[in-house]
Symmetry: C2
Subunit: 722 residues, 2 copies
Amino acid sequence: MADLTGGKADGTSLHGFFFPRRIAVIGASNDTARIRGRFIVLLRQHGFDGEIIPVTPSHGEIQGLPAVPRIDAIPGDPVDLALVAVPAPAVVGVLRECAAAGVRGAIVFTSGFAEEGGDMAAAQAEITRIAHESGMRIGGPNAMGYFNARGRVAATFSQAIDTEEAARGIDAHDLPGGIAVVSQSGGLGFSIYNRALRRRIGGDFVVGTGNEADLGTLDFAGFLIEDPAVRQMLLFLEGVRDGRRLAPFARRAAELGKPVIVAKVGRSPAAQRAAISHTASLTGSDAAFDALFAHYGMIRVHEVEHMLDHAAAFAMPVLPAGDRVAIVTASGGSGSWLADGLAAAGLRVPELDADTQRRILAHLPSYGSAGNPVDITAQAMKAVNDVLEEVLACPDVDMVVLVSPLSLVSRNPYDLERIRAAIARWRKPVVFYSYTPPSDFMRDFAARAGAAVYSTIDGCARGLRGLVDWARFRERFARREAPDAEIAMMREAIAPLLDAHPPGAVASEYDSRRLLEAAGIGGPAGRLATTEDEALAAFEAIGAPVALKLQSPGLPHKTEAGAIRLGVADADALRRGYRELMALADRVAAGAPVQGVLVQAMAAPGIEMIAGIVHDADLGPLLMVGAGGIHAEVLRDTAFAPAPVDAAEARRLVDSLRMRPLLDGVRGAPAADVDAFVELARRLSVLAVAADGRIGELEINPVFVHPAGAGASAVDALLRVR
Amino acid sequence: MADLTGGKADGTSLHGFFFPRRIAVIGASNDTARIRGRFIVLLRQHGFDGEIIPVTPSHGEIQGLPAVPRIDAIPGDPVDLALVAVPAPAVVGVLRECAAAGVRGAIVFTSGFAEEGGDMAAAQAEITRIAHESGMRIGGPNAMGYFNARGRVAATFSQAIDTEEAARGIDAHDLPGGIAVVSQSGGLGFSIYNRALRRRIGGDFVVGTGNEADLGTLDFAGFLIEDPAVRQMLLFLEGVRDGRRLAPFARRAAELGKPVIVAKVGRSPAAQRAAISHTASLTGSDAAFDALFAHYGMIRVHEVEHMLDHAAAFAMPVLPAGDRVAIVTASGGSGSWLADGLAAAGLRVPELDADTQRRILAHLPSYGSAGNPVDITAQAMKAVNDVLEEVLACPDVDMVVLVSPLSLVSRNPYDLERIRAAIARWRKPVVFYSYTPPSDFMRDFAARAGAAVYSTIDGCARGLRGLVDWARFRERFARREAPDAEIAMMREAIAPLLDAHPPGAVASEYDSRRLLEAAGIGGPAGRLATTEDEALAAFEAIGAPVALKLQSPGLPHKTEAGAIRLGVADADALRRGYRELMALADRVAAGAPVQGVLVQAMAAPGIEMIAGIVHDADLGPLLMVGAGGIHAEVLRDTAFAPAPVDAAEARRLVDSLRMRPLLDGVRGAPAADVDAFVELARRLSVLAVAADGRIGELEINPVFVHPAGAGASAVDALLRVR
C-alpha cells in the first residue's frame, strides 16, 4: 500500500498530519473574523489538546498564546503541521522556511494558484517541488483543511464544522457510521459531512484537498482507509490526478471490506469544460471509471443525499443474506407505496408464510393485515415490537422496514432494547422509513437502536439495494484470484505476435486471430492461402461451404471494401473468388502489404455478440462485452470491466446487458452457450493484461454464441497495437 | 364537468362542503385528548369564523359552546357540514339523522368499515346508499378530513396541521404554489402538505379521502381543480374507484393549464396484494395509467419529495421557453456536479456566447470562469446579482440555477428586488441549488423572490425537466383537436365489419385487414382466393413474387401452423402452394371455417415495427406502438397512449422508443418514413375510438416502415372483437 500515499513518504507518513501534537499557525491573527484568525479559535473550540504556536512577526502574543516571529524560531521538537493562510505571493517562501525548519506537514489554505493560471500556476508547481525535495507533505493550496473528530483536530477555517449537532453535544465519533469524507471541493466535502451528521451518520474524518499540489485525494483516501475506525469512505472526485492509482486503492478498500461511496464529476460536456477551467485535472473517460467502480464494489452516486442513503445503510451493524424485504407499516398507503419503490429497485417483498402470518395476526386488530406489507394499523402501534420479532424470525425475510411517522418527539412505541436484541439475534438489518420528516428525537433513538432512518422511499430503496449489492460483491470478491500463472504463460505466447507489429499498427484478421488463438479463443477453422492452389487445398481440408477474406493490415473494414466472399461451395467458385479478391488487393489495401486470402469455414449459427479490449489512458486495459449487430450500434448495449476478470465478473457483465434475455432463447430458439461466452470474455481479459499495455484495441465482432454446449466462435477480429 | 363530482350533485355542490358556514360536531367531547374533542380546538385555532354546533346528548355545553342533544334539534338554516366521529356501529344511524335533518355534507372519521370486512363492509355500503338517496355528500369513512387554508376550515383531527410554519405565523395561503393535495391516505396527504410548507410551497387545500363510500378522490380533485387559487394539484392514488372518470379530470386540468402531480400505488405485486387487503379498490393496469398520465401531461412520481421537486418548480411565476440552463455557482465542484445531473436529465447546459462571457467576466476575479457553469468563486459572491442579470439576458439561456450554500442566516448576497425584476423582465425561471441544507431564512427569501429552492441535484434536475416537459405538453395540448368528424365517418365504415364477428371472436388476417383498410391503413396488395383459378388470377394481377396465407378465424398464428408460403414466383409454385395450404386447412384451423387463401404481394423492405390497440378495463382503448421483432419480445420496447391521439402525440410515442434511432438509418440504411408510421398509428387510434369499445385487441405485427417517402405497410394483422 506504500504507493497509495504518493511522493516519497510511506503509508504511515500521514499519521502526524492527521494526529499532530504541535501545530504552527503561520500568519496567525487576533482578528477572528478573518480566516487567519479563525484557526486557533476552531482548534480550541473542538478540544485540540496539543500545542498551538502562532507564527507572526507583528505580535508577541496571539489570542493569548505566545507567538514566534518565524517558523525557525520554534524551539524543541519539529512541528507536525503548519497551517498556512498567508497571501498567495508569500506562500512559496513560507513553505521553504517550513521545510528548512523540519516541519513535517503543511496545509496551504490560500487560493489563487493553478486555478489562476500564469505565474501562480508556476508557484503551484514550486509547491509540488518543495514537497518532493524536502519530504514535507503539503495539502492544498486552495484547501479547506480537515477535521479529525477522534483526534479533536479542526485544521480548517470552515464554519461548516460548527454544526447544530456539535452545539447539542453530539460527537461525530460516537455516532454509528465510521465515515471518512475526502473531497477535492472542501465546501462540498464539509457539507457532506454535516448532512451525514444531521442524519446521525458519524465518523472521524473530513478532508477538503483543494488543488492537490502534493497530497492528493488518493493519498488521503489511501491513508484513512487503513484506519480501523473508518468503516466506509465517501469520496468526491472532480478529476483523478493519477488514474492508475485508483485501482490499487479500490482493491485495498475491498480487501478491508470497507465500502467506498464515490461521486465523480465529469459525465457531461459542461462539467468537463468546468473541470478544465477549475482544476488542473481532466475528468477522464467516464464509462471507464464506471467500470472500475463496479469491478471493485465502489458505489457511484450522483447526489449527496444518495451518498448518505448508502452511508446510512452501511452504518448498520449487519449485512443482509439476501434481497427479501418485509415491510411493517402503520399506514397502508405508505406501506404499499414503499413496496412499489423497493420492487422497482429489484428487491423482493415476498408474501410471508402462513405460519408467520398467523403469529403476526395474533398481535393485530381484525382489520390488520399480515401478508407483507404487514399493516399493523395506526391503532395497534403498541404491537410493533412483537410484530418486528415475528417478522425477523421468518426465514423468508432478509431485512425489515418499519414504516411510521418519526416526526414524534415523545410517546415512541418502539422498544430500544428489544430492537437491538432482535437485530443481534437474527443478524438482519432493520431500517425505518418515515413519511413525515423525522424528529431529532427519533433520529437519535434509531442511531442507538442500530437502525438506519430514511425519509424518502427512494432513499430507503437505494440504501437496501446497495446493501444487497455490497454483500454479493463481497462474496464474489472473496473468491477472486489474480490469474498470475495464466498471465505469465500467455505473456510468453503472445510476445512474438505483438512484436511483429509496430506501435499504432492495425493487424489483419489473420494476425489478430493468431493472438486470440494464443489466448485460447477460437473461431471457425481457417487457413491463409497465398496461391490459388493453396486456397483450393485449404477448401478441401475444411470442407464446403467456406468464406474467403482478403488479408491485409491496410484493410480493417473488409465487408465495406467488398473483400469477402461468403458461402463459397465449389472449387470453381473458390478459384474465381480467390482471383477476384487478389485482384482487388492493390485498390483496397491502401498500399499495405497483402498477406493472402483467409479460407475459413462458415460459422455455425449463433446469437451475435461482441467482445473486446480497449485501453483507457487513465485506467489501463478494459474488457468490453456487448450485444452484437444493431444492439451494439443503436442501443450501445455494452459493459466494461478493468482487466483481468474472473468468470463471476465476466458473467456479471454479460448479465448486465439489456439484451441478456436473448441468450436464454426467444421465439423458440435454443438457449445459447452463455458459459462459453463468459469464458471467452474472461480469457480475453487475461490476454489484455498479458499484453502489458500493448493492445490499443482488440474487437471480436461478431462473436457467435452457439446453442448451449456448442461453444462460442470469434467470427471476425481486429487488433490495433499501441 | 358535472360528471366529475359524481353521484347526483353538480360540479358546484362541494362549495358548502369546503366553505361551510355552519359546522356540527357530532359526538363532541370536552376531552381534547380524544379525537372527538379535537375538532372544536382545531377549528378555532385555525380561525374558523362560522358557527360551530356541538351535538351530544350528555352535556349542555362543550368547550364553552352550547350543545344540542341531536342533529335535528339545531334551529335555523341547514347545517353545511357534520363532522362524525362516533363509534362505528353508531355511524349509519347518525348519518340517517343528518340526512333527515337536511344536513348538506358530512365527514365520517370513524374507521373499521370496508377495511374490516363482514358486517362493517355492509355498513359502508349503507353509507353509500344514504348519500345517493338523500343527496347529502359524505366523505370517508376512515377519513382524515380536510384543511382549507383560505377559508380557515380545519375539518380534521390531524395534528399534522400544527406545523412549525403555522407556529411561526406562516400562512400556507400566502406562499407561492397554489397546491391542493388530495390523498386517499390522509396520513400521507397531510404529510405531503406539511413537507410542502417546509419547502415554502403553499396552497389552500389538503384532503384525506379515506374509504370513499360516497365522495371519492376524483370528486374532490374535480371540484378543487376549478378553484382559481389552485394552480396545481398533488394526487395520491391507491386505487381508482372509477377509472373512466380519470381521463375527463385529466383533460380538464390540462384545459385549465394546471399541472397534476400524481403518485399511483400498485406497480408491484406486494402493493397490489396490500391494496386488496387495505382498501376496496383495485390498482388497475399500471402501464395503462402511465399512458393516461403522459397523454394529459400529468406528472407521475414515486416519492413525496419528488412530488415537491415538481411542485416547487410549478410554484414559480414563469415557464421556460426551452431546455437550456445556465449555472451560476460559488463552488466549482458543485456547479460541475450539477451540470452532470442536469445533462443526465436531458437538459442542455450550453457554453455561453463570447459576448455574454466577456460581460460576465467583467464582474469576476481573474480565476473566475464564464463558460457555463459560470464560476463566480466564493470570493466574488457580491457580483452574483450583476452576473445573474447578464446570464438572463443571454438569448441562449432559458433558465438559471444559482448554486450557493443557502444555510446562511444573514449576510445574504442576493438582492430580492433585482432578482424579482430580472425574472419579470426576462420571463425565465431562476432557481437555487444549495449544497448545504437551506435555512428557513433563505427559504423565505427565495419564496419572496419567486425562485424555487432545491437542496439536491437530483431534485433540481427533476424540477427543471418537469417544467420543460410541461411547457412542451401545453404547446402540444393547445393544438390538440378531437377528430370527431373522422371518428363519425370511420364508425359508419367499420360497423358492418365488426357486426360480422360475435363478441370474443378472433378475425382472420383478411377480415382484420378490411377493418384497417376502412381506417385508411394499407398493406401489400392482396386478394382472397377461394379456388385455385382465383388464386392464379390474383397472382397474375399482383405480379410475382407473392405470399400465400391460409385464412381462417381459427388460425391466429399462421407461421407456426405452416400456413404461409413466401416468395411464390411462378404459376406452378402458386398452384402447388394453394393446394398445400387448403389441404392443411382441416388440420390447422381447429374446426373454424376456412375463408380461402390470401394472395398478397411480398412487402417491400422496411424497418420492422408493431402497432396495435388494446382495451384496458379501467381506461378504455389504448394505442400501442413498438419496435418489432426481438425488440418487442425481449426488450418490451413499446409505448401506449389513450385513444385517440393526434400526430404530435403519436410522434411522442414513437420518439419514446429505445430503438427510435434505428428509424433514422444505421449501418448505411436509409432513414425510414417516420411520418407514415406516425400517421398509421394516429389512424389506428381513431379506429380504436370509432369501434366504441368493441375492439378487444388489434395488432399489426409487423408494420414495415419503408424508406422516407415510401410509406409504411401493415404486413400482418390480427383482430379480437370484444
